[in-house]
């Protein structure tokens, strides 16, 4: 018996899925005993289909015809975005079809609604490709680590940001020129906002947190800070202190609440995540039984993403006689912890006039709010260049440091708002 697949949207990812289903059906059958067959493609731009031999495959410009096609058992929504994609997924689920999607934005914003619809109609909604592309991280969290309480997840899950930060570090460049390079090389989209402002990472953070703690998470509760404010100075000072800067999605439990946050983070050089370079992704998971595990690979791109989509298709086909696996299990209802309650270490870069007493005033403001300093870099001043003071704090409460910085930045000798980065 073979399972019929319909692909809505033959762009980058959809094209990769079509290619994989056409070329690798044999190896899939060898490995799994499951025959999956491309039966229907819905795409408005027929240019996208020219490279494929679609003999025997229905081609339409109408996703609704695909959803209604009785030859299609599994619908892949690969259009992306929030508009029609949601309509098509809900219609497909409503029609009793299984759905596979790579649409992290939709899942992060409407996961509960989509989940309820899938459960209501007794079908599956799978989304391995939504987080970290070709890395089977959803499967690892749901199945491989099923026996574990998750202690923490640290994910490098946006290839664009990791590429930019890596090039800033290794080529000693500032953000803007590296962004241009990334766009030229196809590692960043125009406009790059969804990536560089951290929102794409937040979508993935929402999905990881929901899965890890079996709880709905409101995307708006996730603290998000992108990479646009990281300068080559921060990269250089961090290196001097033994750290690399990575944009992380961080998920952990704290006092019965969920920490779910996205921000540039100082990662110790020896940490495996520091070795994850350029456009690659990796997810580091701490759990109570398996201890630390890490999953590394390509987080985006035509074929790596297709690998994940097709693995979902195969899983659904394999499980056709079993009970459908719900996309999320909301057995808890946990609050997202306010970022002000975060306990951590902080990197501070102050830009100040260079005159005696500045460091003393800064330290006394920090001390007043209970923030103590672990290390400090202050270089010999150069003429006409503002002085930088770089401080690494001991562990303290984020709201305390925020209060101290309000006070510090109100001083006339502070020339720019102090730059704060969190430490892993």
């Amino acid at each position: 018996m073979s399972y019929g697949v319909g692909v809505i949207g033959a762009g980058t990812v959809g094209g990769g899925v079509i290619q994989t289903l056409l070329s690798n059906g044999g190896v899939i059958a060898d490995k799994t005993g499951v025959a999956v067959e491309l039966r229907h493609v819905a795409e408005l731009n027929t240019e996208n289909l020219k490279e494929f031999d679609l003999t025997g495959v229905t081609v339409s410009a109408d996703a609704k015809a695909l959803i209604a096609d009785p030859a299609v058992n599994i619908v892949c929504e690969l259009i992306g975005g929030e508009g029609v994609a949601k309509t098509f997924i809900l219609e497909a689920l409503g029609a009793g079809k299984h759905v596979v999607t790579a649409n992290k934005m939709l899942l992060a914003k409407h996961g509960e609604e989509l989940c309820a619809k899938a459960v209501e109609h007794g079908v599956e909604l799978r989304y391995e490709a939504a987080v970290a592309g070709g890395i089977p991280i959803i499967k690892a969290l749901r199945e491989g680590l099923a026996a574990n309480n998750i202690r923490a997840i640290y994910g490098i899950v946006n290839g664009t940001c990791n590429y930019i930060l890596t090039r800033m570090t290794e080529d000693e460049l500032d953000f803007e020129p590296v962004l241009k390079q990334a766009i030229a090389k196809g590692f960043a989209e125009t406009p790059p906002d969804l990536d560089v402002l951290g929102h794409d990472t937040a979508h993935k953070c929402q999905i990881l947190a929901s899965l890890a703690y079996s709880t709905p998470i409101d995307l708006n509760d996730i603290y998000v800070e992108g990479v646009t404010k990281v300068t080559h100075l921060d990269v250089a000072y961090a290196r001097e202190m033994g750290y690399l800067i990575k944009l992380l999605a961080i998920v952990q439990k704290s006092d019965g609440e969920v920490e779910a946050r996205v921000h540039p983070t100082l990662v110790p050089k020896e940490h495996l995540l520091a070795s994850v370079r350029n456009e690659f992704n990796a997810v580091f998971v701490k759990s109570d039984i398996a201890d630390n595990t890490l999953y590394y690979g390509r987080g985006a791109g035509r074929l790596p993403t297709a690998s994940a989509v097709v693995s979902d298709i195969v899983d659904i086909a394999r499980n056709t006689n079993g009970a459908p696996v719900p996309p999320f299990r909301y057995t808890h209802k946990l609050a997202v912890r306010d970022i002000g309650l975060l306990q951590g270490r902080y990197y501070l870069r102050l830009t100040t006039e260079d005159h005696p007493g500045v460091l003393g005033k800064v330290c006394s403001s920090l001390g007043k709010h209970g923030v103590s300093i672990a290390s400090c870099i202050q270089k010999e001043e150069q003429e006409n260049v503002p002085a930088h003071i770089v401080l690494m704090t001991h562990k303290c409460l984020e709201s305390s440091i925020a209060a101290a910085l309000d006070e510090i930045d109100a001083n006339a000798f502070v020339l720019e708002p102090t730059h704060l980065l969190r430490v892993l």
Copy 2:
């Protein structure tokens, strides 16, 4: 509905499984909707059970009673070894019980027989814990990468050897003192032969190759070289050339045959596998659709191994209404390629008398057999210390280099057999 689990053998791993089932049933149900329940433990040494509250669990000294217990749906064989373990697995499968095992030796030697028995009786035989402990690598290969042709697998899958090689590298020590340290710290068993001679790695290599290429593999066809002959000199010279030495299980296809081999390997410093330190394991997979992925974690230990065993239990319980997944699919019958046909780069360390013309003679022997040299280290001689010549070759055929070394080592000026290591 809940699924009953029986555990045969409450040693290190079995104890970990009992502990996990007793403590983490709640989180398992939250994440998967599946209730798994420890119903029966068979263990001869009741000392091993003292730490557990086994109220409501049948305890026996008789594995056959456990297998026959109608409350047990899934039998975990956690005795290890080749003796009664095999008998118990075959009996459990024959009785229509699903089996979970961590027994890599048994699978590597009798995988075909065990697989046939499971298929015959329509039950599952799962073994996530058999390779790389807590890392869900079997799941990644069977499911996560189901859409992929596997190009190559490089696995650091023996924590003892990786610990020894890491300490030799970082502490600049020789094999013997580090082995003693490893035994003292519990990272090596006594006798350590199964680990340090590479056989344990070969068992895992056999399993990975069978899975990757859907073919039976004769364990005896796998080339195996352990870490006992690696010296601190090799470690130091390799470092000087930009490499770390790792014991790898290597699986790849070459001209329609399977390369399946285990040997110390020079890994470039920048490669992610070079960052895998101490007792940790990692498996690097190259595949056609997902491209490169890596899976990292603890390859041994009570709880990490238990994490894998329990994930298998949960998968079986989840799939109870579906078709059983066979442990292996032997849809091909591929030969294991002779090591002599290997094409690679080689590190050679020659120990010679120090007199003029030695390097010339060595080079001409290599050249005669078509081996060309990429780089060379020959240090200023010290008195009464034999001279070392370290060579890195260009890509060549292993049988050519073996022939050249036969010729070279027959020279009177060669004081010890030349040491050869393969390069990734």
